[in-house]
Symmetry: C2
Amino acid sequence: MTSKQAAANTPSPISIAAKGYAVDSESTPFKLFNFERRMPAADDVVIRIHYCGICHSDIHQVYNEWHSSKYPMVPGHEITGVVEQVGSSVKGFRVGDHAGVGCMVDSCRKCATCKKDIEQVCGDLCLTYNSTELDKVTPTYGGYSNLITVKEHFVCKIPKNLPLDAAAPLLCAGITTYSPLRRYKVDKHTQLGIVGLGGLGHIGVKLGAAMGAHVTVISTSESKRDDAMKLGAKVFIVSKDDEQMKTVANSLDLIIDTVSAPHDVGPLLNLLKFEGVYCVVGAPTKPLEVGAFTLLMKRPTITGSGIGGMKETQEMLDFCGKHNITCDIEKIDATPETIKAAYDRTVKADVKYRFVLDILNAFK
Amino acid sequence: MTSKQAAANTPSPISIAAKGYAVDSESTPFKLFNFERRMPAADDVVIRIHYCGICHSDIHQVYNEWHSSKYPMVPGHEITGVVEQVGSSVKGFRVGDHAGVGCMVDSCRKCATCKKDIEQVCGDLCLTYNSTELDKVTPTYGGYSNLITVKEHFVCKIPKNLPLDAAAPLLCAGITTYSPLRRYKVDKHTQLGIVGLGGLGHIGVKLGAAMGAHVTVISTSESKRDDAMKLGAKVFIVSKDDEQMKTVANSLDLIIDTVSAPHDVGPLLNLLKFEGVYCVVGAPTKPLEVGAFTLLMKRPTITGSGIGGMKETQEMLDFCGKHNITCDIEKIDATPETIKAAYDRTVKADVKYRFVLDILNAFK
């Protein structure tokens, strides 16, 4: 084979120039990062990113707190924007459509869980950043950037009535709480507890209330009471107040625990009815500690849930469109300094309830 | 009211003289204990105890390891014997019947769980020992004794084909493993794991195999391999051997964890299929530690189970009668010294697989 023949067999080398914000290590600041996105293959969609939410897991990854960080890293997996280009076989999107990308950009599509639309646990899952494409070599870069090329299967439609900025966190925080609410068939008969009123918790309250559940918010801080009730909760209790906790003991069908900080789940498990469900959606680095007697006497289902499959994510977005649900956000300019400041405030839980970066204006 | 009238209104004070072995504190040896059982009320059955199993929880209670012991204590809740007397309204038992009593002797019979035949979680539950009757005053004394008076509802029929000695541990170890096997609908399609091959584990293997499951035993000790296979397991793996553990990774539908000693459940959870069930039936004093990522990615049901309701206990005994299942036991004389020696060996897991006290001969 001549070099000319080889060149003819090689896919077009032309790529799309992209820019974003990256960190080079766990201890260096964000900086402008020039890189390339692939030209769209037949089944690809290219999205001009308008907004990207700041998820607490971005912070864990940037600072290598999960000990699996790869650099340079462009974080961001709560992405909304507008379709700029589509591959030849793309059926579901047209240029100008509102589109979203969440935590994953590819999977094997062949395994048992992929076939069941639970792509998020595929062994070959390609995360949106700090991961690689299916070739296990090409790094993936996230949504703190102006453009992204993604397989159509992993792109969601954002209902036209939802603003792109406040819809962005639905792609992670939204689906993370929606999925277990559906898995455990929440409806008007459900006594639902939401532990923690942050990025995940506040949208969990909205979704649970929209499904008709009687929502109880359990928080460490009395200061969250008014917000909880405005978001749709019927009851608010402070977890450190034993008397308040007693009023809800043995009454909840399902608790969604959204807290990422280490915390004692023992008193929270007491709030469950016999055979109630306790679902962890936060990711504390310290293991949960569960007493054997609670397991023996309460017979709870203790489980967890991470994001959701693509079909369910679209279902969640359609549900939010129907009920006009978005996240409560603080929209901020996207610069290395503003991102750092937002991270510092997120770590202190000082945000109502999600920072969203104005990506479009940052890279104009 | 005169004292004569009062006496006329008081139930007959006549009681039944009973004897047993009791401890007076967590640090004193067993001694002969003379006490009284109530005369049978209309709905009572009096049983001449023939055999009583030694459950690991007897040891925890005698030594006050759960910090709730009351003395004097007559332990024992794996009781079999022969009906000696019945109250006037008793329908299900006749003098001479083979009968069994497990961990509980009364409950409110009115609450939601009692009505669902899950008496074991009733808030007013009366345990067979180290507890009180419904009056919250009268202490209950267990099966290391010659006679017991029990409400008919809490007495089980022992199938005639089962020997009373080897059937005794079914009343606790048997129902403790049977209940979750039924709750999670074990059948010939089930990949079942049993962690620990002791009193609970060995009967769990027999029951699971009789239900048609493909049973894998996970043990810390290679020395249990032959027994596991003889009891009905198809696969045996040593939990400390990473290579053996890998061969079973992500393959089990249900794991019953029978281990009472503190142990790391992380590697055991890895053996579950996606959304598999991990059910704790042992009672380690140290809490279980469960990593959040396992919960998020595996979406397991982590739960527990303690004994079972009366209806289910009878169902278990009938199942064992049909399949001719009893426990593998070491039958021993019942003296303060032999009980102490059996406790010491049980703590060292040096018993195949349950000690059963020969009560009838001890108190002849």
